[in-house]
């Protein structure tokens, strides 16, 4: 399998792999999995004052999935929390050189981010009530 240099670099040295410390303020998490695709992904996101201050991921999957998750975590950091709903992996796959047949795996990254958004939305509703 020929991987792009960005996929190789992100896979071998992911900058945002791992977990945020327990008790981190504003921490939300979300995960997605598809056994048939052999992929599991979890994001841990720190949201303070409506902004994503930190993003970390854990992943089981192929190098494309690892690299795409690393890119996604990097992209999320510094953006508004609404970015969790706007993560557009399909706009990114060509730049990463991900083959079309692997796109389903990238959609799970969007699902995991969306799960973070739902948790955040739930927490904010609780606060308002």
């Amino acid at each position: 399998m020929d991987y792009s240099s960005e996929v190789e670099q992100r896979f071998l040295s992911p900058s945002r792999a791992g977990e945020l410390e327990k008790g981190t303020p504003g921490l939300v998490s979300g995960e997605a999995a598809d056994r048939t695709l052999n992929v599991w992904i979890r994001f841990q996101i720190q949201v303070l004052d409506g902004a994503i201050r930190a993003a970390r991921f854990s992943v089981y999957g192929c190098p494309y999935t690892v690299a795409a998750a690393d890119w996604a975590a990097e992209w999320l950091e510094g953006r508004s929390s609404t970015a969790l709903e706007e993560l557009g992996m399909l706009r990114r796959y060509k730049k990463l050189g991900v083959p079309v047949e692997k796109l389903g795996k990238l959609l799970l990254i969007e699902d995991a981010a969306a799960a973070c958004w739902r948790e955040l939305d739930g927490l904010e509703r609780q606060k308002r009530n």
């Binding site: 399998m1 896979f11 992911p14 792999a17 999995a33 854990s58 089981y60 999957g61 192929c62 190098p63």
Partner: protein
């Protein structure tokens, strides 16, 4: 000093031995033998003599007489010739073929093609270690069975079948027996005549010879319909101008391929590799622990996705599944056939050592894997455990 690239994929193909390269270059050169071996003039007769020397080198290595060895393009063609040719030539005897689910695709796809022609195929089972029981073959044989085809050394797991016992059962029942022996030469002894084998497939490129040349052994008196037509070369079984330089290389490779000298060295390298890998938590060996070829090691690393481990070891040439199938995203049919779930099959790598593998290379690879497996498992910390089918 470790080389930049380490090759542990000898079951996919072997590097060509320098001695083989030398005879091939000599054959191709201006003072070599480049005439058509079918020509009756002196240069043609010289080329034919080279072909016949190679044929006898190959025959000697596999334990048959040289007039039963016919050149083909490789083991896949030989497999097709054996199955299709034998079933068609013996259609008057029946239309039933027996093989196993663990065979190479060259056998399984050919069997499927024959099913489309109306041949009935029985796929026999095996035990969890991948061993086919000879008695089960005997039980599957029917009055209309023409051919049994079982591989000698499995290309993915290295598991070794008891060809002598299966051959005996086939002959007791009057059924032809074909063996795909593509992986065998130079690693384990081949005594095809002693083992009552009627047809066998061979290739040069897995035994330090060139790609694009192979052979089929056809026991005396066995009928086979040719698949291609156009001349009388190779007894009419496989017409076409012979590639003298490839055949000469093939012969030299088989002359050098002595399992008595190579086998123990390969086993030592393989065992050193397994000892190192077995120190990693949770790894498991696929296939029978003892009844196996010395050159293949098939290992599952639970919690690690196979292609990720492959990329993490990018300077080490290894296969996820069999090399023939590495570009196919489906998990290996052999590993699934042995009961592994899709997830575990995708967490599996095949290592295969060869004549040029060094202890230093093995130690380097073990060290790299001992580093990378925990890193990838940590990356997947919290992932569900998908082990069941």
């Amino acid at each position: 000093m470790i080389k930049k690239e380490i090759y542990l994929d000898y079951a996919a193909t072997t590097p060509v031995d320098p001695a083989v390269i030398a005879v091939m270059i000599e054959c191709l050169g201006s003072s070599g033998d480049s005439a058509n071996p079918s020509s009756s003039h002196l240069p043609g007769r010289r080329a034919k003599a080279r072909v016949e020397v190679a044929r006898s080198q190959i025959a000697k290595r596999i334990g048959v007489s040289s007039d039963t060895v016919w050149f083909t393009s490789g083991a896949t063609e030989s497999d097709n010739m054996a199955l299709i040719g034998a079933m068609r030539a013996n259609a008057h005897r029946g239309r039933h073929l027996i093989t196993s689910v663990l065979e190479h695709k060259a056998i399984l796809d050919t069997a499927h093609a024959l099913e489309a022609e109306g041949v009935e195929v029985t796929y026999v089972n095996h035990d969890p270690d991948g061993i086919v029981d000879p008695d089960q073959i005997a039980e599957a044989i029917r009055d209309d069975t023409v051919l049994v085809s079982i591989m000698h050394v499995n290309n993915e797991t290295g598991v070794l079948q008891d060809i002598a016992a299966i051959g005996q059962r086939c002959h007791e029942c009057g059924v032809l027996f074909h063996v795909d022996a593509a992986q065998s030469t130079g690693k384990v002894a081949l005594k095809l005549e002693d083992w009552a084998v009627d047809l066998a497939s061979l290739t040069a490129h897995k035994t330090y010879g060139p790609m694009g040349i192979g052979a089929i052994y056809i026991s005396e008196g066995v009928s086979l319909d040719p698949m291609i037509h156009g001349g009388e070369q190779e007894g009419g079984f496989r017409p076409g101008t012979l590639a003298t330089h490839q055949i000469v290389g093939f012969g030299k490779a088989f002359e050098l391929a002595d399992p008595d000298s190579d086998g123990p060295l390969l086993a030592a390298r393989r065992d050193r590799l397994w000892t190192g890998l077995n120190a990693i938590e949770g790894v498991s060996l696929n296939g029978h622990p003892a009844q196996r070829s010395p050159h293949v090691l098939n290992v599952t690393f639970p919690g690690v996705e196979g292609s990720s481990l492959q990329l993490a070891l990018a300077n080490v040439a290894i296969s996820a599944g069999s090399a023939c199938n590495s570009d196919i995203p489906d998990p290996s049919h052999v590993l699934r056939g042995m009961g592994l779930s899709d997830v575990l099959a995708e967490s599996t790598l095949r290592f295969s050592v060869g004549r040029f593998t060094t202890e230093a290379e093995i130690d380097y690879v073990v060290g790299r894997i001992q580093d990378e497996v925990p890193r990838l498992r940590a990356l997947a910390s919290g992932a569900p455990v998908w082990t069941a089918s």
